[in-house]
Structures are given as structure tokens and as C-alpha cells.
Amino acid sequence: MTGIGAAPSAGRGPSLRVIFGTLSALSILTISALSLMLAATLLPRATELRQHMQPVSYLFGALRDRMQLVAATVRDARLMVAAEAPGDVEALRRARAALAAASSRVAVRPYGGVPFAMRAALSRADEDLTTLENRVQEVIAFAELGAFPAARSRMRAVDSLDAAVNDDFSRAQRAGTEDLLARQAALDGAAREATWIAGILVVVAILLSVLTLLTLQRRIARPLAALSAALDRVGTGDLTVQVRVPRQDELGLLAEHFNAMTAVLRDRAEGQGRFAATGELLAGIAHEVNNPLQAISTLAESRVDEPEVTAAERADLQQILQQARRAGKLLNGLLHFVRPGDPEVAEQDIADVVARVVDLLSYQFGVDEIRVENRVDASLPWVRGDAARLEQIFVNLLSNAVDAVRGAPTPRRVTVEGWEHEGRVHVAVTDNGPGIDREVAGRIFQPFVTTKGARGTGLGLYVSRQLAREVDGDLQLRSTPGEGARFVVWFPAAPRRGAIAVAEDGPTPAATRALAGLTILVVDDEASIRRPLTKYLARLGATAVDAADGLAALVQLRLLAVDAIVLDIRMPRMDGVELYAELRRDRPALAERVLFLSGDPQQMHEARAHTLPAERVLAKPVDLQVLAASIRRLVGRRSPA
């Protein structure tokens, strides 16, 4: 299912929603059909049988009761005739009353559901019973009148009718039994029919279940497994993975999104790889450039205050010094951005962050004739965050602004404003470009949304907003189409810092003999740095000695009592990190008085440099006054007034 390269094209099929809707409907239909068919097959026959049983039972029961009453009276009448005595009046009355009670005919009552053959037989028996009653009445009448021969004659008719009634009743019973058996057979047939139907529907249900399982396997399980495997590979760093898009259903769309996402990630990883390589290259360059810059600035700064230097020469030297420092600052800023190191959340001066970014992009602004107004006041409260990440936010916003106004007619303006409101520090980046369409504006912070076409990844604003939210801030677009774009980022204000104490040991104008009485060891493999630096320190009254690397420094330290060491980090044979480790082990007091110089300040983030105290690392090219002040702070000496 997974493969590298372009995913195969997808066939268009029914969506998963349609498939599962259909399968669900089919399942419901099958179950409903099963229930309905069973009900339609069995219920009418069962109901018919039940409805049939009730009147049949009633009719048979009622007729049997009537027959028993009549039979009892017939017995009495027979006894009376046999005895040729009418019996007492009360007995006659009882007999006639019994006949009257039995005279309620039953068989013609209109009960539905009784088979007509049975009804006919019952009716015949019922009517014969009525005739029998009438004849018994006559027998009793004859007996009452003493006409016993006539009574006996009539009694024979009674016997004949009695037999007929029994025949009719038996016939009705047979008819009823046959009908009952027929209905039971119909019910049995219906049950068999229902069994067949149920069996077929069960088979259909099983087939549907199998179909459902196969569909689930084919349409969901396999694509999900492929996606899962692909995600695992992405997790291991393989961004070349692509999943097959079998069809344009929901999972197909998901696979397409996955492929698009890995493609973007791959491009981004490649970009970041290049970016990282650039960083590495830049670090090397920085080291190589900062050292000459340090040499230039040291030479210039050490010469600038010499009395024999003319005013014109001093102005030139100051120009050299200023440009060298500017070059160093730009280089270090670039390094800081390219190799930010591990995030470190701390209170940050937002104005300083913005200024650094503006400086970083100043060349771009100049090339594209963009006037940048940085109105972020240094008096704004600080914010908490990682400096590199905060810089990234503003690099993204300002880069976007540059892109937005680049094609716009002049004057092109980008304005950065800052203000505080309700405990939040707001910074707005506004450009006078074409603005952002309302449709795009609604999803501008979604990943992969870009207005730059192939040049953009569509991740800048998305990442910027995420970074702002990581520190409980946010990034919003407040833009009117056609009138430029205005992005406002805000952060919670950190507790306001006290006034920044002006360090007593901070940079001060160079003072003669400021380092008098101190013995300072300068360790740098670059003689062009080491020597002017030693010369400068000596001019401040220090006894300055130098060494070309760590090993040479150790030799010097065995010969001299040194108050402070200015130590380059990257050197051949024994570098600054190794020397510092030796000092911490053998001469810890002296190790506390080591200042480090680095052509690549970002190398402090390397693992082996973690032992170095960051507050004592000075980036090349270092301001010599700062260097002197730092030395004084280390040795506990104050500059003379």
C-alpha cells in the first residue's frame, strides 16, 4: 500500500457514507423483512386458528349441555311411560322446565369462523334436538292425559330422533376435527414457509455481514493500516513515503492530504536541511570573519586614542571601528537566527527583539526600496518567551510584509508599532501592500495556506500563531482588503523589570591605566587578534602576556601569576573548552576569572561548550571597552574615576 513517488490515481467510487448507509439500510430491510414475513406468514393463520377455536368450542359445549339436559328429561319420560304413571305434578313441572331451559338453541348463533360443514351439522343436530324436545313434551302431555299407548308410540319417535341427534353431533365433530386439522396443517405449512423464508433471510443476512466485513476490510481497514504504516515511517524520519489513493472516498481524501502533507514536510525538511547547512557554513564563515573583524576593531580601537593620531586619522579609525562592529553585529544576529539553539524561556525586551529583526532584514528593505518605521518603544514592558522564537515571529511577519509590498508601487512602507493595553504587549506590523482577500483572510492562519504561490510553504503564519500561543499570546489579522495588511501579535506583559541597573563595570570610556597592576593572559591562535589585544591591555596598565593555544597558555601559567585570562574558544591543539576544564580542575579560582572570546557565539549551544559560563562569553568582534570593563568586574577592580 505504501510506495515512494507519485501515488497512483484514484478511481471514483461511492463514498463510505453511501456504502455504509446502503449496508445499514439493507441490514434493516433484511431484519424488517424477516419480521414482517414471519408475522405475515404465521400471524393470520395463528389468529384464524385461535378465532376459530373459540366459537367452535362454545358451540360444541353449548350443544353438549343441551343434549345432556334433554337426555335427562328423556330418561325421566321413559321411566314415566314404562311405569305407566304420570308421576307427581312437581316432577312433571321439573321435566317441562328442564325442557324449556334446554330449548335455547345454539347452533345458528352467528359466530364467524365456524366451518360451514360443521355449522350445518350442528344446526341439523340443534333442530333435531328441538324436535326431540317437542316430542318429549308430547310424551309428557300424553302421560299427563293418561294416554300411555300413545306416549309409548311417541317415545319411539323420541328414540329415533335421539339417534339422529347423536349422528348429527358426531358428523359435526368430524367436520370440526377435519377443519381443525386443516387449519393446523395450514399453520404447519405456514411455519415451514416461515422457516424457509427465515433461512433465506438469514443466509442473506450472513452474506450481507460478509459483504460488510469485506467492505470494511477493503475500504477502511487496509487504507487505515497503510496510513498507519506510512505514519510510522514518517515518525522514523522517512518523508518520502506516499500512500496509494485507491478511490475518491473519505479515506482517499485523507490519503491525498497525507501525501500532500508529507510532500510539504519533505520540501520543508529539504529547505531546513539547506538552512541548517547554511547555518553550519555561516558559523564557519563567522568564525573566519569575526576574527579579522576582531583584529580590525582591536587595532582601530587601540589606535584611536593614541595621542599621535591626527583628527582625520582618528575619524577614519572610528569609521573603521564602527563598520567592523556593525559587520560583527549583523553576522552574529544572522548566526543567532540561523542556529537558535534550545528554546529558553526568559523575559525578553520586545523592543530589542524587534530591533534585531529589523536589523537582520535591513538589507532586504533597502534592496526593495521599503521604508521601515520601527516605532516599538524600549519603554514597553518585557515579555516572556524564547528570544529566537520571538524573533522568528517577527521575521515571518516582516518577511511577509516585504513580499506584500515588493510588487506595490512606491512609496512602500512597513510600520512596526508597539503598545501596551490591559496587561498585554501588542506589536503590529502594517504594510501598504494590496492587502489580503476576504476569502483568504478567513483561513490565512491554516497550514499550507499561502498567497505566494510556489514560493511559499503556507506555514509561516501558522507557525507564528502557534509560537505566540505557546507563550499565551496570539496573532491576528486586522486587515481591510485593498488597504494593506496589518498583523497584530500580542503577548502577556511580564512583570515590569526594575530600572536596568547601569553596570558599574559597564562599558565606559577608555581610561588610562584602568587595568594597572593586573597580569592578563590573552590566549588566541590568531596573532592578528592576540597582539593588538595584548597591546591594548598593556596600554590600560596591565601586564599582558599571550599564548597561541591552550598548551602554550598552560606553560605561561606555570611561569606567571595571572589575574585574568582572555581565552579564545576555538584553537588548535588545546582549545578554550579544554583549557577551561583544566583550570577548573587544577586552579578553580583562576577559572572564575576567565573571559571567553568566540567568533561563533552559537557554538555555546554545542554539548561540549555547555560547561562554559555564558555570561562570560564575549562575541567577536568585541568592544575593547566592554572587554576592559568585564576584566575589571572579574578581578573585582574598579575603574579609576
Binding site: S104, P110, G112, V114, A120, E133, E138, F142, E144, L145
Partner: protein, 369 residues
């Protein structure tokens, strides 16, 4: 097997489709069954004539006559009903002859979904015979009250003997009369079941030993009623004999009664001397067809036939529609104006009962509208 069920269903659907396709032609030919004894054939002839006169209004209506014999057993009535229910195009049946026969046939029509209109059956059991059965005559409780009132108030009797035919008609009328007589304070001395083959002399003689009545009430038909009247006179106890509607079939009643015919009174639902125009017209047509006067059963049967024909014309030949039409009479529809009066099956139903006295072989109205 299940496929047989499917096959049956398909067959039923096919028949239904054919029935729908053929309903137009069937709608032009409608049959009304008539299940009565032969002596009512003139009533049919008159009804046919009237229906023919209205030709062109609705479908062609034919009357299918399945002649009965008085006293046919119940199983014969059931088979007769099955025959009529199987007649193509039949929508309703007028009949059968009397309560016993009507009750025996009612399940057939109710299961077949065919309207049954009973013209002169009085058993109250017909009320629960089924939704397709409609009874024109008042039930036996109403008739019993009428007879009791006549016996007590007009004949001023205080003791009666009741002879009854032991079927639904006779026992129903007996029970209605006994209850009503008790309310008038009239004593019932004896209740004697009879049928056409009874030994009336013995039964009457034995009954007279139990008490001599002022009036004899007979809940039976013409033969039993006439025979009892005759035997009473032969026994030297001439008494007025009051009978229910089943007895007033002339001249059979007078023949059975012989010289005692003048002692007979009988209930009728209609008399040919009714003064209204519908009655006069019916009597005229009947006399023209048969050369004699119609009797109550003729008029009732005629009304039943014409009522159904009217329903068919009004709502078409569907039995369900005809049934609904009959139900609505006296409710959402006005009562049907028949020869025997207004016919309705709702609250407006008003029984018209007449007490006739047989005088000189003819029935004369003595009580009633």
C-alpha cells in the same frame, strides 16, 4: 413453501389487477340475491318492474331468486347463502325467510362481505349477526311489548297461555311477550313448544289441564297458530288467539284455523289498506301483477329490494359503499321512504306495527297507524 406463498401473492395481485381492469364492465351488471319462500315471487316481479322503470340510472340490476321452502333446516339455509354469495356481481341479499334462516345465513354474508337485508326477521340476535347484516323489522322485544299491550288493554285478558315455535323467532317473541305481559300484570299459565308436526290436540288438552287462559298467544307461524285456534275451539274453549307477524300469511292461516279463523289476531308491519301514496301505488302494481292484495312480507321484501337498488344507484355497486349507505340512513342521510314507512338504521328508525284481525278470511286493521 415460501415460493408457493409468493406465487399465491402474485396470483392474488394478478386477480386484483384483472378485477380492477374489469370493474367497469362489472359495474354495469349488479345482482341482488333474494332468498325467500316462493309465495313472495310477486313482490320480486313488482320490484323488477320498478327497477326496470328506472333503467339508465346506474348499473343494470338483476334479482337472483333462490327460492326456499318454509321450514328449511339451517344447513339448507347455509348452503343457499353460499350459493348466493358465489353469484358473480352480487352485492347484497334480501333474506332469508325468518329469524332462524336469516341467522343461519348471516355468517356466510358477513365473511363474504355482502350486504344482507332481512325484511321480516325479528330476532334480536340479528343485532349481533355482523356488520353486513341489516334488519328492517322491529325486534321481538318491541313486538312482544305490542302484543302484551293489545292482550292486556284491548282484550283485557289476565291469564294467557303461550304456544311458541322452538326457534329463534318463537323463543324471542315468547320472551319479549312474557316480559311485557308481566309488566301489565297478566299471568302466563303455560308455555308450550310446538312445531308443524306437533300433536296440537294433545298439547292443548294437556295445557288446559294446567289452566284455562283468557287469551292464547302464539309465537309461531300460520300453521301452528291456525291449528291451535282450531283445537281450542274443538276443545270447547274458544279463545282469542293473538299471534306474531310470522302467522299472518293468508290464506294459509285461515285454512289452518278453519272455523276458528275469526278468533285470530296477528301482528303485521304493514297492511294493504295503508293510505299513503307509496302504499297505494305498490298495492296497485301488486294487484295488477298477482290479482290479489299484497301482504306485510310482500311489502317488506319489496322495500328491502328497492332500498338496495336505491343504494346501488346512489353509491355504486361496491358492497362496502352500500353498507356505508345503509348505515348512514337516518344519520347523515335522510331515511329511505319505503312502502312500509321510513326506513333507517339509526336513531330515527321507528317501527310501524299493526294488529290485524282476521275477519271473513281477510285481515283488518284493528290497532296501528
Amino acid at each position: 413453501m415460501w415460493w408457493q406463498g409468493v406465487g399465491r401473492s402474485l396470483g392474488t395481485l394478478t386477480l386484483a389487477a384483472l378485477a380492477v381492469a374489469g370493474c367497469h364492465s362489472q359495474a354495469r351488471s349488479v345482482a341482488i340475491g333474494f332468498a325467500f319462500t316462493y309465495h313472495l315471487q310477486t313482490a320480486i316481479a313488482v320490484a323488477r318492474e320498478e327497477i326496470a322503470l328506472r333503467k339508465g340510472q346506474g348499473p343494470r340490476i338483476s334479482i337472483v331468486y333462490d327460492s326456499a321452502v318454509a321450514g328449511d333446516p339451517a344447513d339448507v339455509e347455509v348452503r343457499r347463502a353460499e350459493r348466493l354469495a358465489a353469484v358473480p356481481g352480487i352485492v347484497a341479499v334480501v333474506g332469508h325467510s325468518g329469524s332462524r334462516a336469516s341467522l343461519a345465513a348471516a355468517p356466510v354474508y358477513n365473511e363474504a362481505g355482502i350486504v344482507q337485508v332481512t325484511p321480516n326477521s325479528t330476532s334480536r340476535l340479528l343485532d349481533s349477526a355482523g356488520p353486513w347484516t341489516f334488519n328492517l323489522a322491529p325486534d321481538d322485544s318491541v313486538e312482544g311489548v305490542f302484543i302484551a299491550a293489545f292482550v292486556a288493554e284491548r282484550l283485557r285478558a289476565s291469564r294467557v297461555t303461550i304456544y311458541y315455535e322452538n326457534d329463534e323467532y318463537g323463543t324471542g317473541l315468547r320472551d319479549g311477550a312474557v316480559a311485557a305481559l308481566a309488566q301489565h300484570g297478566v299471568a302466563v299459565l303455560d308455555r308450550v313448544p310446538v312445531d308443524q308436526t306437533s300433536d296440537f290436540r294433545t298439547l292443548v288438552a294437556a295445557s288446559l289441564t294446567r289452566g284455562v287462559p283468557d287469551v292464547v298467544v302464539v309465537a309461531g307461524r300460520q300453521l301452528e297458530t291456525g291449528s291451535i285456534a282450531r283445537v281450542m275451539r274443538e276443545q270447547g274453549v274458544p279463545r282469542a288467539v293473538v299471534a306474531g307477524d310470522g302467522a299472518l300469511v293468508l290464506p294459509l292461516l285461515t285454512r289452518a284455523a278453519g272455523p276458528a279463523a275469526d278468533s285470530l289476531y296477528a301482528v303485521a308491519f304493514w297492511m294493504p289498506d295503508a293510505p299513503d301514496s307509496l302504499s297505494r301505488a305498490f298495492v296497485e302494481r301488486y294487484r295488477r301483477a298477482a290479482g290479489e292484495l299484497p301482504q306485510s312480507a310482500d311489502a317488506m321484501s319489496h322495500d328491502a329490494l328497492m332500498l338496495i337498488a336505491d343504494a346501488v344507484r346512489a353509491v355504486g355497486p361496491r358492497p362496502a359503499a352500500i353498507r356505508q349507505y345503509l348505515r348512514e340512513l337516518g344519520g347523515t342521510r335522510p331515511p329511505y321512504e319505503g312502502v312500509t314507512g321510513r326506513i333507517a338504521f339509526g336513531p330515527l328508525a321507528r317501527p310501524r306495527l299493526v294488529m290485524a284481525h282476521v275477519v271473513g278470511g281477510r285481515a283488518e286493521r284493528v290497532v296501528g297507524p
